[in-house]
Amino acid sequence: MLQTNLTHVTTADEWKKIIEENENVMICCGRMGPMCIPVYGVMEDLEEEYKHVKFADMPFDSPEAHVIRNAPEARGFMGLPFTFYYKNGKVVKATSSIQNEQQVRSILNDQFGKNNQ
């Protein structure tokens, strides 16, 4: 399990459940490394503001993380973390490597809207 304050997804079943039960989901699949930690930090900071989005992490090295590691949208990804955005269970965006708050915000706004109006 990753040492973050986010919701932890550790199995493929939990992954399926979270993307099916929530309309908007952002999952960051990584390690406790220099490129991943800032993304978890951004997610923790934005969680309060984007109440209509479910934020979660998943350990990259778990065999169960194949659902993200081997997803077609991750083809060509060569930098941790792999960050996936789901709407109604479908991938709407995926990024590779570190992203700053502005980049994450812009994806959240484009894909899920600014807030829950």
């Binding site: 040492q3 390690r31 406790m32 490394g33 220099p34 490129m35 991943c36 930690i37 800032p38 930090g41 951004v42 900071d45 060509g76 990804f77 060569m78 930098g79 941790l80 990024t95 590779s96 490597s97 570190i98 700053n100 708050e101 502005q102 915000r105």
Partner: protein, 338 residues
């Protein structure tokens, strides 16, 4: 105070709202940056009962959160940078500091008696003194294709992304300790590494140079700079230019790791406080900058060694000097009034 101001203004809602907002956004000290330096300054200032605001771009903890294991912080055997950051943040908050994450700074006015910071969303904060603790970051090359292939071939972290290049040929850019040490560590994965460096000598320690030279998986392209990264759906390689002849060639590779040093986060301070030719803030032994009431600490200042301990030490000096300076200013004001 608020009530008096409201009556004096004749109860005009907009102006009252402005004053209430400003009252909430008025601090004794604003600290720019929430890395180890900024958080340490906040701990000392708020313990001295000074109203302290930390404005931080990015994750509180700064570069410290990026450190997998901190093993050289005295009194703590070994701790992740993430945990140490959270503890420092909690400590600063427990003494009363306000810590806000911001996206950017729109305007800085630091030369008057009242210092003013306008953040990206237009919020105005004011204080009597400011501590600059904006730290630094890895330098980017700034060439075509760098942003496009970040995470899809271009990386700044060998331990994070090395395994994606197992049995592949890659490029490492740089000639300092990080570049050479990381190149050697990447030979665990890559089949071959070309180190591209702009000079005909390395700035690294002798042991790192020797280790890289003795590694049969590593070859060198010296006196060479990257002119462009190339690829379509995936990364194909880089165009390099010989700095002496101007001749261009293409190195086919699956990825490139960039380790070309450090740059201070002081762009926003240009023309405001004195910076040296590397963009570092010039301070005296009490961490005073060229402006009255403006102090600085940590990786953003002109200094040789950049560590958590050095940042924390400088921030302690900066905070105590700021508290002393504020006390003196207030004493002067009181004696003038009498």
């Amino acid at each position: 105070m608020l009530v008096i101001r409201a009556l004096w203004l004749g109860n005009q809602p907009a102006r009252i709202l402005y004053f209430i907002t400003m009252e909430n956004n008025r601090f004794d000290v604003i600290v720019l940056g929430g890395g180890p330096a900024g958080l340490t300054a906040a701990i000392y200032l708020s313990r001295a009962r000074l109203r302290t605001l930390v404005l931080n771009i990015g994750t509180a903890g700064g570069q410290m959160v990026l450190t997998h294991e901190v093993a050289n912080y005295p009194g703590v055997e070994s701790v992740s940078g993430y945990t140490l950051s959270n503890t420092m943040k909690k400590q600063a908050k427990s003494f009363g500091s306000v810590i806000k994450n911001i996206a950017s700074i729109q305007q800085l006015t630091l030369n008057g008696d009242v210092k003013q910071v306008v953040t990206g969303d237009g919020t105005v904060y004011e204080s009597d003194a400011v501590i600059l603790a904006t730290g630094g970051r890895s330098r980017e090359l700034g060439v075509e294709g760098e942003r496009q292939f970040k995470g899809k071939g271009i990386s700044y972290c060998a331990t994070c992304d090395g395994e994606f290049f197992t049995d592949k040929e890659i490029i490492v850019i740089g000639g300092g300790n990080s570049a050479l040490e990381e190149a050697v560590s990447l030979t665990k994965y890559a089949s071959h590494i070309t180190i591209v460096h702009q000079f005909d000598y390395f700035q690294a320690f002798e042991y790192a140079i020797e280790e890289a030279k003795q590694n049969t998986k590593i070859s060198f392209k010296l006196n060479s700079v990257i002119s462009k990264f190339q690829g379509g759906e995936s990364f194909d390689g880089a165009y390099i230019k010989d700095v002496n002849t101007g001749e261009e060639s293409f190195i086919k590779s699956s990825g490139a790791f960039i380790f070309i040093g450090y740059q201070p986060n002081t762009e926003v301070l240009k023309g405001i406080v004195e910076l040296n030719k590397w963009g570092e803030i010039v301070v005296d032994s009490e961490m005073k900058t060229s402006l009255d009431g403006v102090f600085a600490a940590g990786d953003a200042i002109a200094k040789r060694y950049r560590q958590i301990t050095t940042s924390v030490g400088e921030a302690t000096v900066a905070a105590l000097a700021t508290a002393g300076w504020l006390h003196e200013q207030r004493r002067k004001k009181v004696s003038l009034a009498h």
